[in-house]
Symmetry: C2
Subunit: 333 residues, 2 copies
DNA sequence: TTGTATGCGTTATCAG
DNA sequence: CTGATAACGCATACAA
């Protein structure tokens, strides 16, 4: 199983065997063949641990995402992201460790649950920070582990890849306004930088349109859930909203359900725009207008940025991916 | 950064430092404190490579899933699975490597793209086999790497955790029949063991109900896609089907879209039942009746089985998880 | 309670 | 073109 064994089988030295296998120095054709066939016979597989120990490289990175156990749906966004990361990993022959943490685990629990960080192991890490993870991010930086933030920005000193959440929501608000909507409600999360940016986009667009920001139309929650989405939508209907911006793919489902349960006509009585884009959104009635994020690309690009860092490049990159409005029918005419 | 350094700092031996850190033998309170504080000062993190090399254990497993790049939706099922696996991993302090392969990559390409298998590294592996991966599975077995199959069964010698696909589909057919449906169409995949089992369930239920299996009502495809789902549904409408069983969460979306586009009344003109259960399925109109799989549990359980194997238990376990009908409205009355 | 010393499987250096 | 050997950082058997 080891180089040593193959060396014994072939009568060559460990060094020659290693070089023959890796093509890292000239080896006679004769020796090469002997080594290769012996390796095949015993089913030789290199021992990564030894290689890592020697080279100080694991060819492995980790991605650490929040996993809200009572809201599994939010994770689908990260699935697309992970597939994007995987694509880059495949191209570069890296392996990917997927780790999770509980975003509601409190300050000290938030990120470090990822034991992968506490061990000298991965070459780099992609992190989706929570609002409590500044300290962990700092410690990652201090231990010299290459990293890139993703989806959410938590500070100015880190490389980061996010969506243009602010613009995405602002676009949606403008679309509502263009359709004659005047009382636009906002359902969002306040627990993450992402949520805050979306809220900021809402306020900004309102201001730009000279529309007042009515507190009764703004419903912020610490976390996302279907039930919470329903609840908020009910509240907004009572307040006389004629449009709802649900800044998250879970909330929008709840909101939609509540609207339908109440028998509201969409979009005549009340318009609705959601976040993220899945095929099913075109399948509900009316088909949902939504703010699309480039999830797969986000994964691919954040992996690319990390790879660049692993290559020794020192620049800090802040990449903001554009969102796009997927205009279907739920927003109005 | 290493035990050696801490040994130097504290004036103790490497052995004592190691034991103090790991609590693996008695150490005087005095020494312990010295070691711990020194470790904290220099930010000591154990070097996994060295530990792995020494102990021949990585505390890491891998899961290898098919990733159909032109059908990202299918992946969401595996996201739920992965979260289930993660839960077990969290409990047992293992890390999880997520690897993918192209299910349409042809025979030789199918599984081995997962380089993780070609390296002596992970302690065990969870594999979703494709119909072409028997050889790879055999080679995994031959190299003595503990493994468990998941979602699909490819042979009789491997431990395996799957859903009861056959029964799930049969239940759906019976429900259709109970609602007076007589010409029940089947849209399915033939490219995987999963698809074949679902098809078998369809035939079995039909036979049990003394209903003929009309070839014109059976549409099998090598792979899943939204477009293909639409196409099949159109065909089935032409053939006069009064019900459609779409044995996959992507196909059912396509089928639903086609039905709506054609202005069919659901479920009066034509009923439809899908596979897998997502929140959005309750949000379309009419709410979709579907065959639910226990995705999260499947992940948790398959991880459990693998852990058992890693613990040295030699039994082969074949676990079949029950499916359940989520009865909403699209099937009929 | 502590220390010494070995070896895990590689890569890479240095010497032939 | 080839070989001997050191070192990577750790766990642990053995000795004291």
């Amino acid at each position: 199983m080891s180089l040593k064994k193959i060396a014994e089988m072939t009568g060559l030295s460990i060094a020659t065997v290693s070089h023959a296998l890796n093509g890292t120095r000239a080896v006679s054709e004769d020796s090469r063949e002997k080594v290769l066939s012996a390796a095949k016979v015993v089913g030789y597989r290199p021992n990564m641990a030894a290689r890592m120990l020697r080279t100080q490289k694991s060819n492995t990175i980790a991605i650490i995402i929040p996993s809200d156990t009572n809201n599994m749906n939010a994770n689908y966004f990260y699935m697309d992201v992970i597939m994007g990361v995987r694509k880059k990993m495949f191209e570069t022959q890296y392996e990917l460790i997927v780790s999770t943490y509980d975003p509601h685990g409190g300050v000290q629990q938030s990120l470090p649950s990822a034991q992968v960080l506490r061990q000298h192991w991965v070459d780099g890490v992609i992190v989706v920070p929570s609002s409590h993870s500044q300290r962990q991010i700092r410690s990652i930086r201090e231990m010299g582990l290459p990293y890139v933030l993703m989806d959410r920005r938590s500070d100015d000193e880190s490389s980061c890849v996010t969506s243009n959440n602010k613009k995405g929501v602002a676009d949606a608000v403008r679309l509502f306004a263009a359709c004659g909507k005047r009382r636009i409600g906002f359902i969002g999360g306040i627990g993450s930088a992402t949520g805050q940016q979306r809220y900021a986009g809402y306020l900004e667009a309102l201001a730009e349109l000279n529309m007042p920001a009515d507190e009764a139309l703004i419903l912020l929650s610490p976390s996302y859930s279907l039930a919470r989405g329903e609840e908020c939508a009910v509240r907004l209907m009572e307040t006389g909203a004629d449009a709802i911006l649900a800044a998250d793919n879970v909330m929008v489902m709840g909101a939609l359900r509540a609207l339908k349960a109440a028998g509201a006509r969409i979009p005549e009585d009340i318009g609705i725009i959601g976040f993220d884009d899945y095929d099913w959104m075109g399948m509900v009635s009316p088909p949902l207008t939504t703010v699309r994020q480039q999830a797969f690309q986000m994964g691919y690009i954040v992996a690319e940025v990390l790879m660049r860092k692993l290559g020794g490049i020192k620049t800090n990159e802040v990449i903001v991916l554009d969102t796009s409005l997927v205009v279907r029918q739920s927003h109005g005419w």
